[in-house]
């Protein structure tokens, strides 16, 4: 197969003129990635005992749960027949990669839900006794009627939390690796079709989860006039840097391979990168989103230069940039993959609309919803770790 100067004599298949996947399919892996990433941070504490992460360990699981609760929203908004959405689990086709989502997602959410419940059970039970007025009943309901925790029950809870965290690691990896597979397994599209896609998605997911958690932590500390924990931020910066190195290695290593081998798809991909994706890929995903944080992060991660406030600012800025990087990566994969025709002879435009079910406004609402949920959850549950002396035996 030969590719010709795509822009000299463009030719687009008639049905390729309207990309089938909208911005909602950009947001879907973005949110799912954060779900998996935030959970991985919590396991760093609960399973791998990184004590420095104690301040954010509970916040991480609650954030993951809130994000996870909204993960199916963009899909629903995208479906042209949303009233049939449940058919994916009712009459799934075993040959379809997409059919697995309902099951993988439900399993992961179940693990997460039970994990969160066990983690907060002491607090819920305590509030079921002490909360004022109608709140008492809310906490009684949340406690599922069990209003006492014996030392033996606390011990069982502790073991269960550990077990669920362990199970949650592969579940989170499968959840997001699977999202990558949805794209990587499409042989019709040379920009998507790579065996590395699940790994690329997974590493970028972890990166986005750490970044969103870091920002949340900084924001919550500032808004409640709390001094952020120096060691916690250092640990988050290290993790972020390490996973960013991995993500970048996989993302660009894969591209380098295609480019160097001059595989047949390279011609169309090169055109894509230097024309349509020049800003979103080269500028946002590579320079601003990856290179800059890779340079900034070692300051708070590995040094003690300047003031703590400066280092915290470095961590915050890097986290924002990383979130931009991952958003750009999702955009470049999902939208970029639909910008060239399967004729490989021409590009199409991607119409971005503000209004409508799949517009930018709806996308902003979908992205804001997990944060609203988190705000609600924080009113209900104590996401900050309890004081060690009041610790009720369950590892916070």
């Amino acid at each position: 197969m030969e590719y010709h100067a795509l822009h000299d004599a463009p030719f687009v298949f008639p049905n390729d003129a309207h990309p089938a996947w909208s911005i909602m399919i950009v947001i879907y892996p973005y949110i799912t990635g954060m779900v998996a990433g935030a959970f991985v941070v919590s396991t760093m504490y609960h399973v791998f005992h990184r004590e420095a992460l104690r301040p954010v360990a509970r916040l991480a699981v609650v954030t993951s749960l809130c994000l996870g609760s909204c993960a199916t929203l963009p899909l629903l908004l995208h479906l042209h027949q949303p009233q049939r959405a449940l058919n994916v689990v009712a009459t799934p086709s075993p040959s379809s990669a997409m059919a697995g989502f309902g099951f993988i997602y439900s399993f992961y959410m179940l693990v997460l839900l039970v994990d969160v419940w066990l983690l907060f059970r002491p607090a819920i039970v305590e509030r079921a006794h002490s909360a004022p007025g109608p709140w008492k009943n809310v906490y009684r309901a949340l406690a599922l009627g069990v209003l006492e925790i014996t030392p033996r029950a606390a011990e069982i809870d502790r073991k269960l939390i550990h077990a669920l965290s362990v199970i949650g690691i592969p579940a989170a990896c499968i959840l997001h690796g699977y999202v990558g597979f949805l794209f990587g397994a499409i042989k019709a599209n040379p920009w998507w079709s790579t065996a590395l896609m699940p790994v690329i998605f997974l590493t970028s997911a972890v990166v986005s989860g750490i970044a969103v958690l870091t920002l949340l932590y900084l924001f919550l500390c500032r808004s409640s006039r709390m001094e952020p924990d120096e060691e916690c931020l250092r640990s988050l910066s290290r993790l972020l840097w390490m996973f960013l190195v991995l993500a970048v290695t996989f993302e660009f290593g894969d591209l380098l391979h295609v480019a160097y081998e001059r595989e047949e798809e390279w011609h169309v991909i090169r055109e894509l990168l230097v024309t349509k994706l020049r800003f979103s890929y080269l500028t946002l995903q590579v320079l601003i989103g990856a290179l800059l944080p890779l340079l900034i992060l070692p300051i708070p991660a590995f040094t003690r230069v300047a003031t703590p406030a400066f280092r915290h600012a470095c961590t915050g800025v890097a986290a924002v940039l990383v979130l931009v990087q991952v958003a750009a990566m999702r955009w470049n994969v999902v939208v970029g993959g639909q910008l060239f025709s399967k004729s490989f002879r021409g590009f199409v435009d991607y119409p971005v609309t503000w209004l409508g079910r799949e517009g930018l406004l709806a996308a902003a609402v979908v992205l804001a919803m997990p944060m609203l949920l988190l705000w609600g959850a924080m009113k209900l549950l104590p996401v900050w770790p309890p004081n060690p002396e009041s610790d009720s035996g369950v590892k916070a």
């Binding site: 197969m1 030969e2 010709h4 000299d8 004599a9 030719f11 298949f13 008639p14 049905n15 390729d16 003129a17 309207h18 089938a20 996947w21 995208h78 479906l79 042209h80 027949q81 949303p82 049939r84 959405a85 058919n87 994916v88 009459t91 799934p92 086709s93 040959s95 379809s96 990669a97 997409m98 059919a99 989502f101 949805l182 499409i186 042989k187 019709a188 599209n189 993959g337 639909q338 025709s341 399967k342 004729s343 490989f344 002879r345």
Partner: protein, 301 residues
């Protein structure tokens, strides 16, 4: 073809051949209303034995197309004069094929209108189209779409004859892949293969996820703007089940489009397949298309 290339047929999706009693149209955009397909959930379950039989038939049919054109000429059972559609559910399912002879296509565009009318295809979308390849003397190759109203009526400036080395037309339609990626990726069994090997969309099941649109390497599928479900060329399955030719074939004035039974050595398509060298689009993707071409150049993607 090896055993590993056995086509995967959805066991729950038996499409009853014959008249449409239920009105449960699986093809969606059928204008005539004469769709002769029953919804898979209304049709009887295909038994395992029948599944294997169908799979084997399909594989053999594909073999005859991809490897041994005309090789089944001596197969007594396959040359039985069963009419298309069979009529009897137990009758051996016919095997169909489509041949595009690019050397005969003149870009008249009659097929385009015929298809749009027959299948109520919305404006801006297409079940079939015709590409024009113009090789200029300076080495450039330009490709464009044959306008449905024809080049003359379109008023578009045309290349000067003295600049052109050669030009040819390539009609595109569903390749009815034996190992169809669109079918594989559909999460809800809305992309189904008829027992005759024709890939159909069940408009009553489609959730409109668009995954099949992404998976088709040939740009054949589209999300129908009007029905909001996936849609595609189905070789006019409703017509074929009525013993008629697809609308585009009937409309083609030059015989560039040939449709028929590839398990019947006396059919026009079998005779042409036996004598002409043919190839398929994007063969390297392993989709095993049933639509075959005469005169494809490597410019054609």
């Amino acid at each position: 073809m090896s055993l590993f290339e056995l086509p995967i047929l959805p066991m729950s999706a038996t499409i009853a051949a014959g008249g449409c009693a239920s009105g449960g149209c699986v093809t969606g955009g059928c204008a005539s209303g004469g769709c002769s397909t029953a919804r898979p959930d209304q049709a009887s379950e295909t038994s395992r034995r029948e599944f294997l039989k169908t799979a084997t038939t399909l594989t053999l049919g594909a073999m005859s197309l991809t490897l041994l054109p005309g090789a089944m000429a001596g197969d007594e059972s396959s040359s039985a004069a069963t009419p298309p559609g069979g009529g009897h559910p137990d009758a051996k399912k016919p095997m169909y094929g489509f041949l595009i002879d690019t050397t005969r296509c003149t870009g008249a565009g009659k097929c385009l209108t015929a298809c749009r009318v027959e299948n109520s295809v919305p404006e801006g979308q297409a079940r079939t189209w015709v590409e024009r390849y113009v090789h200029f003397k300076d080495g450039r190759v330009e490709v464009d779409l044959v306008p449905e109203i024809g080049y003359a009526a379109s008023g578009e400036p045309q290349p000067e004859a003295e600049d052109v080395l050669r030009a040819y037309f390539v009609p595109k339609l569903c390749n009815q892949c034996v190992d169809a990626p669109c079918n594989q990726v559909c999460p809800v069994h809305a992309s189904i293969k008829s027992p005759e090997g024709i890939e159909l969309v069940d408009a009553d099941r489609c959730i409109g996820c668009g995954y099949c649109v992404q998976a088709c390497p040939y740009g054949i599928r589209y999300m129908n703007h009007e029905t909001n479900v996936a849609d595609k060329c189905n070789w006019c399955y409703h017509r074929v089940m009525r013993n008629e030719q697809p609308a585009c074939v009937e409309a083609c004035p030059t015989g560039a489009r040939v449709f028929g039974r590839i398990d019947d050595p006396d059919s026009e398509i079998s005779k042409r397949l036996a004598t002409l060298p043919t190839s398929v689009l994007k063969q390297h993707l392993g989709t095993i298309p049933l639509t075959r071409y005469v005169g494809l150049t490597d410019e054609v993607t």
